[in-house]
Symmetry: C2
Subunit: 83 residues, 2 copies
């Protein structure tokens, strides 16, 4: 399993409820791709969403987001995670 | 206290040890600005670093990174954090 950070742009003014709904759509189908979305952060003023996930590959993460209706091509494989 | 995600670009080929050293430089001085860096992620292939922090403002976060020698202007205030 690898870890990924992906970024969505243009989400200006999105509410917490809207982000939760979008995140639930990911969770509902992520198992089909062997992906799990662990955490998501929103800056509605600058329109950015960051999602942290684990899964087999960037392509798998991309497919979940695409099927859930919020595709992004900006997906980073995180090799180092400092806590 | 607010929460922030910041992004650094151009960190191609950075090693885990180099990231840890950079992170330690942040931790050593973050108290001066009332900031705390909680977590950092690295994609050395695409040269991206993401840092999650808490602090009084984006400007405070920016000052820590600048003093530590790795400035960035890409700092997002995270109003929603879904776990």
């Amino acid at each position: 399993m690898a870890m990924f950070m992906d970024v969505h742009s243009g989400f200006f003014g999105v509410s917490e409820e809207q982000l939760r709904e979008a995140h639930e759509r990911d969770l509902a189908i992520e198992g089909e791709e062997g992906v799990h979305f662990e955490r998501a952060w929103l800056d509605p003023e600058q329109g950015k969403v960051f999602c942290l996930s684990s899964g087999p590959s960037r392509e798998h993460v991309a497919r979940v987001h695409e099927k859930a209706g919020h595709p992004t091509t900006e997906i980073y494989e995180v090799l180092v995670d400092i806590t």
